[in-house]
Structures are given as C-alpha cells and as structure tokens.
Symmetry: C2
C-alpha cells in the first residue's frame, strides 16, 4: 500500500498516476485542508475536490480545477443578485459543496464525507483529508496577513510573501484514515506529490509530531520536486521561494525537505543539482517529472514507486 | 397604494397584473412564508421567489415555479452524490437561496433580503414576507402530520387533509413593510390574490390579531376566488376543500372569508352563486378570473381595483 500526500493540481496528477500504477485500493491519498474555507455558507475543500475529480477522471483539464464540461449559471445569477463572485463555483461542483456542508452540519466527519463522495464518484482508491480538525493557512504578505483564498484567488497570489501561519494545526489530529494508513503493515512507501511545499504540504507537517510520525513509520519517504528548471510547473511556488529569499530551484526543495525525506525525484533538466542534493543526505532519482494526462503521468508514478522500493524500509 | 396578499402561482399572477395596472411603486405584495423551509442548508422561500420572479418577468411559465430557461446541472450532480433531490432547485434559482441564506446568517432580516433581491431583479414594486419570524405550515393528514413541503412536493399533495397547523404564527409579528403598508395613509385597498385560502392566506391570518388589523385599516378588503367552476385553477385547493368536508365551490370560498372580507371577485362560470354569496354579507363582482400571461391578467387586476374602489373605505 502506498500513502501519497497531496495538495492541488500537481499533487492530484501524480496521485492519479499512482492510482493507475497500483492495484485498485492499494493507494491512500491524504490531502491538504489548509486551503479549505467557508464561503457563501458552504465548506469548500479545493484540494480534496481537485484530487477526487482527478481520480474520477472528471476534472477540468483546461481550468486546472473544477469539473470538466462545467456550466456557470449559478455564478451568473449570483452576480446579478450582488453576491460574492470572486471565487468561481460551477453548477455541478456546487453540488459537492452543498452536500458536504449539509453532512458536516449533521455531525459527519470530513473524512467520512470525503470517502463517501469519492465512492459515489466511482473512485476505488482511498481519499482522506489530512485532518478532520480545521487547519487554515494564512499568508503573511506585504499587504498584511491574508486568509489563503484571499491571497491565492482574490488577489491572484500577487502580494509578496513573508511567511505562513497554519492556524489550528497545533491542535489538529491526523484524520482516522491517515492514522490508519501510517499504521498499516502493508504500507510500502510515503510519497510527497509535487505540490507546493509551503502551501500544500506544510499545513500537514504543522500538525503536532507529524514529521516524527512519518519517520516512525519506517517506510521510505520520497518526494517529487514541484520545481523544474527553476520554475514551478503550476502555481506560485517559484515566486514564493524568491519572496522567502530562497533560490527557486530544485536544490532549495532538497534543502527544505532534508532531514525528513529519504529521497527526491528531480527532473532531468535539474540533473546538475543531483550531487548537491545527495550531499544533503537525500537519495536522488533523475526522471522526467513534467506530467501529462496519460503516459508521462503513469511513467513518473512507476519510476517514483520503483525508486521508493529501491530505498526500502528504514530501521529508524 | 394597493396592498396585495399572495401565495404562489395564482397569487403571483394577479400581483403581476396589479403591478402592470398601477403606477410604479404603488403596490406592496405581502407574501406567504408558511411554505418556507430549510433544505440542503439553504432557506427556501417558494412563494416569495414565485412572486419575485413573476414580477421580474423571469418566471418559468411551463413549470409554474422557478426561473425561465433554467438549467439543472446542480441537481444532476447532487443526485449522483446521493443527495436529496426530491425538491428540485435550478442552477440559477439556487443563487437566490444561497445569497438569501448567507445574508440571513449575517443577521439581515428576511424583509431586507427580499427587498434587495427584488431590487436587483429590477422590480420597482415592494415585495415583503408576511413576517420576519418563522411561521411553518404543517398539514394534518391521514398519513400523519407532515411539514408542508413534505406534503406538497415530496408526496404530491396525495395524503387526505384533516387540518392545518401554522407553527410559530401565534408569536409572529407582521414584517415591517407589511405594518408600514397597513398604516400608509395612501392605502386604497387590500387585495387577497387567488391563492389557496388554507395554504397561502391562512398562515398570515394566523398571526395574532391579523384579521382585526386588516379590518382596522378601514380599507376595502377584496379577494379573487381561487375556485372556478368547482375546480382550482392550479394546486390542490379543491381536493383539500373536499377532504375538509366542504363543497369545492366559490360559495364555500365566500363562506370561508365571510366576516373578514368586503367583496369577492368570482368567475362568470360561478355567476349562479352570486346571490348566495351576497347573502353572506359580501359584495360580489362577476368577472373573468382565469388569467393568462397578458391581457386577461391585466383585465382582472383592473376589474378588481375598480371593484375595491367602488366599495370604498369603511368606517369600522
């Protein structure tokens, strides 16, 4: 069994590759909830939905979020009523938020709702929030401290980042399916998908003793770098790294994860950084990490799994 | 100024006729809220929306509820998720419920939200809920006591009715716009639209001293009968009357309203009941009460206004 940690689009894409590479039900994807927020009275979980829609092959490839073939009648009518329309919600996507909100209000956990939605969408893999407790990412910027979606969607990630807060993380517990996956004797490896380390992975790691718990599994921890040739494939990762005073390259990703991870998969465009990353104590696989919707995604998943198996279990 | 009391489709239709017959802003439509309910975490106000959409000329003429040209992507996606899909919500209509729910949750009154939605839809007349306090119609039937939408939509008004409860009515206050309209010196008449007396008008009359307050305005109170030739134009009024042991005719409507109203507009098909209704102490206008979307609606509105003006103010 493989445990994948994922955020948005890049994470969902590798998660889908892993799902295709593994026998059914041998994958648990634990998803960032730091991006979640309450909007229009609805609980929106952008990363859970991106992963779920991608695994169900219902995702909108053009937009990078939401559902394929989506319509926007609700949004148009809401704008007419003077409602908040800066966060776009498609008509079908809206059903996910309405149903999730209704069930959470009845006392169901986010884990239970997420699992059931995935099942209804025909997904055989397990998808779980990192936690059933609220963790909310805030971004300290030159425009003040901003709630994540205010920074990311409303302001299009334009303000310069100074740091992050993952509010609620210090009292959040990993979700039951996450705990269960970590304790599963058949767990083979933990894969950090190529998601933004600060926005998609750090909220999870901000939970108490999380890094120690991941290490204590004894299974190889490998990440796929979200940076290729000094640029993020998608999203503001490279911009954020510069604003944090880091080089926006794969070596900096290696430095960020050194001490936690056993291995890092880097793109062949970054092969010249291999030795420097290895000097950090990380095993390195050089591969083609730019994914598509088909063979490249699957090939990267297979290469990453093989890499993790080569590393094998740790005694510590 | 004319004050119209309305429920669903029939009420909305005459309200629209009155809007067309009167100078802009000289009409206040006070709408039944006994049908309101909370569904999928949203506050749904079916009669307010039917009146608003009809006055905005956005109503769906084929369905008799909702918006013209509506799409149903949300509903399809919700069904796929195993959500409750017995109460159909169109993609555009949904924006009304989401925006209303959001604003109510912020502490705005239903009156304020209703007025603003109407304004946003381009309506110059005033539309108000009968009350900002919750009043909920329950139907005592041979299948037990049912919440209104459970009876009306889910069970298609099939159970036999034994009586009604208007829960919350005995501690509900008329909404501020309703109170203001009753106290307006320019108020000329109060028109009971051809809405179901038990389902659409009775919840309003169940508020404390409501009938007395209407009478105390001193203005003529006239109704348009919702029954034509022993049948309801739309909805279960005739069926309900039979189940309550009443004749399902216009005379029974006259008996129901005798003592409260000054006049009743009946259809020419029911002209033979004129004398009997007059013996109840009601003035009667025989007219063509079957409305369409154009001239007949306007003609009935004009005839009703003229009838009320003929009756004129009362001293009591």
């Amino acid at each position: 069994m493989i445990l994948a940690l994922a955020g948005g689009v890049g994470g969902a894409r590798l998660a889908r590759g892993l799902a295709d590479a593994l026998p059914a039900a041998q994958l648990t994807v634990v998803v960032n909830t730091g991006d979640d927020f309450d909007h229009l009275g609805l609980r929106i979980c952008p990363d859970i939905d991106t992963v779920s829609y991608t695994l169900a092959d219902l995702h909108n490839r053009a937009l990078g979020w939401g559902l394929a073939g989506e319509t926007w009648e609700f949004m148009g009518a809401l704008a007419r009523l003077g409602g908040e329309d800066w966060f776009r919600l498609g008509d079908r996507d809206l059903a996910t938020h309405v149903e999730r909100t209704r069930r959470l209000a009845l006392g169901e956990s986010l884990s239970a709702v997420t699992a059931d939605v995935a099942k209804r969408l025909g997904i055989v893999q397990q998808i779980a929030p990192m936690s059933d407790d609220p963790v909310r990412t805030f971004v300290d910027t030159d425009a003040g401290t901003l709630a994540f979606q205010d920074y990311f969607v409303r302001r299009r990630a334009a303000p310069a980042v100074r740091g992050f807060e993952y509010r609620g993380a210090d009292s959040a517990c990993p979700s039951p399916p996450f705990v269960q996956a970590l304790a599963d004797p058949s767990l083979e490896a933990i894969v950090f998908c190529p998601s933004n380390p600060w926005l998609s992975i750090a909220p999870l790691l901000a939970m108490p003793r999380m890094a120690a718990q991941l290490r204590a599994s004894g299974r190889p921890l490998v990440a796929v770098s979200p940076i290729i040739g000094g640029r993020a494939v998608k999203g503001p990762a490279a911009k954020i790294m510069q604003e944090l005073g880091l080089a926006s390259d794969t070596l900096a990703i290696g430095r960020h994860y050194a001490g936690l991870l056993d291995g890092l998969v880097i793109d062949s465009a970054d092969a010249d950084q291999r030795a420097a990353i290895e000097r950090l104590g990380l095993r390195v696989l050089v591969s083609d990490t730019l994914m598509d919707e088909g063979p490249r995604r699957l090939a990267l998943a297979r290469a990453t799994l093989e890499f993790a198996r080569t590393i094998g279990p740790r005694s510590s």
